[in-house]
Assembly symmetry: C2
Homo-oligomer: 271 residues x 2
């Protein structure tokens, strides 16, 4: 999906919400746990209930890999389901991959040809030739880790070089020579608050994927205040706060209600 279509969806649905499909079989409602296809059934119900209120889904690969081949199979069918029933959704594989060139090319093939998602999250540590193999697929995106939402983001991402430039700034500046803002986004955690001002100095036109609203404690208001640009430029993700809103038979309905609340907040910011 290209940027124009993504922005049109955001304006039409008055939402820049991304729902994180971090489906943990240990957390899904008890009445579903014995279902032979529990992961897929949970996802399907969550997707149908939340689709009116979001523009993107982000399955995190870890949750599917933890069940090996069966988990991978459930993910493949989840993605196929979204594409068939909700084709206006932008699908992000949260994979945080990145390897030497010939290996990153294989990952690109897995995610963009086999799974056929719109975007993949990539880790920058290994540099240019670990990232560029993901580029050049029409309508596909790289979402590079810049300033993440977790506590450990302070360990290396804030290290200043001799000129006072922090590593996340160097990652954004250097990588912006590899790709245009129409094919690369950045991950910036909602927990980083005012840092969005700093991010916009080095990435004025890029979309940002923003995890950390909800369970991780980030503020949507701050993210919008410091991070929003003319065509929105934000995809704000919530996972646990939506998909585990209820542990009962009403889990999908409650997920829809939580997604709708976030959409209603977002609509006021978009007006």
């Amino acid at each position: 999906m290209n940027r124009q279509n993504l922005v049109e969806n955001i304006r039409r649905k008055k939402s820049f919400l991304c729902v994180g499909l971090d489906t943990d079989p240990l957390k899904i409602p008890p009445h579903l746990a014995d279902h032979p296809d529990a992961i897929f059934e949970f996802n399907r119900a969550i997707i149908d209930a939340t689709a009116p209120y979001c523009v993107a889904y982000k399955p995190n690969m870890a949750f599917y890999e933890s069940f090996g081949a069966a988990g991978w199979d459930a993910l493949e069918r989840t993605i196929a389901y979204i594409k068939e029933h909700h084709p206006d959704q932008f699908i992000i594989a949260d994979a945080k991959r990145g390897d030497i060139g010939n290996t990153s090319r294989l990952y690109a093939r897995s995610f963009f040809e086999h799974l056929d998602v719109d975007a993949i999250t990539v880790a920058p540590y290994m540099g240019e030739d670990s990232v560029t193999p993901f580029l050049g697929y029409d309508g596909k995106w790289v979402i590079l880790l810049a300033l993440t939402s977790n506590k450990g983001s302070h360990d290396f991402q804030l290290t200043e070089d001799r000129n006072g430039k922090r590593l996340f700034e160097q990652v954004i500046e250097t990588s912006s020579k590899w790709a245009t803002p129409d094919e690369m986004m950045y991950v910036v955690g909602a927990t980083q608050g005012k840092m969005f001002e700093e991010i916009r100095k080095v990435a004025p036109n890029s979309f940002l994927l923003v995890p950390g609203v909800g369970a991780q404690g980030g503020s949507l208001e701050e993210v919008v205040k410091y991070g929003m640009i003319d065509d929105c430029g934000l995809l704000v993700n919530s996972s646990r706060g939506i998909i585990y809103a209820s542990n009962g038979e009403d889990f999908a309905e409650k997920a829809g209600i939580e997604a709708r609340k976030l959409r209603d907040q977002m609509a006021t910011f978009l007006n």
Copy 2:
């Protein structure tokens, strides 16, 4: 597998060779390509032919993921095969994972409980809470990316902070507070040559996983000269140079010959 057992295997087999199982269905011999279980059959033959000459196997996840659930299944059976028939081999999942804490915990579960490998490669960019969930499994290892073998390693890993400390040095120094050298190794590319001297200043007692000998052009002699310590402290990986040594029906035999050549070189360095 703990450090003592690993070192015993290295001394007994006079080898610190790791064979990279980067099994690409587009590169396996034509006579195998139509086999309904081609990836596993290729791996099985390569493993049986090379096991006398190596102490470790390193499947790179990208190659298996590129075939979705079927590829994951072939990997699971490959690992089970090694554990059953060659239980003295150290198995490394080359995954370069790393995510926020609760997600890294799931990856740890996938790799250490489900696949039951001995070690996983982890990317350091997200810091402490992305790495520590992989620690604390008895006899299991984290292998953290430090200074990789690819050209892009220069983009960020060599960036100097205000005190002249390069990022890879900061990664090693900081992470050495999270784990002992009996549970954490570092990835250092063979292509880095003399940089091994610098690495040994900050990681004097750690095992290093060294890719980049062979197809990527690194020199085994330099790695040994600047990187070897009392109990060896090196696992040198070769992938393409061994597993694709021949494209004919003799592919396994030729792989064995290439592995044996490297073992013979290694034996002279160990004496």
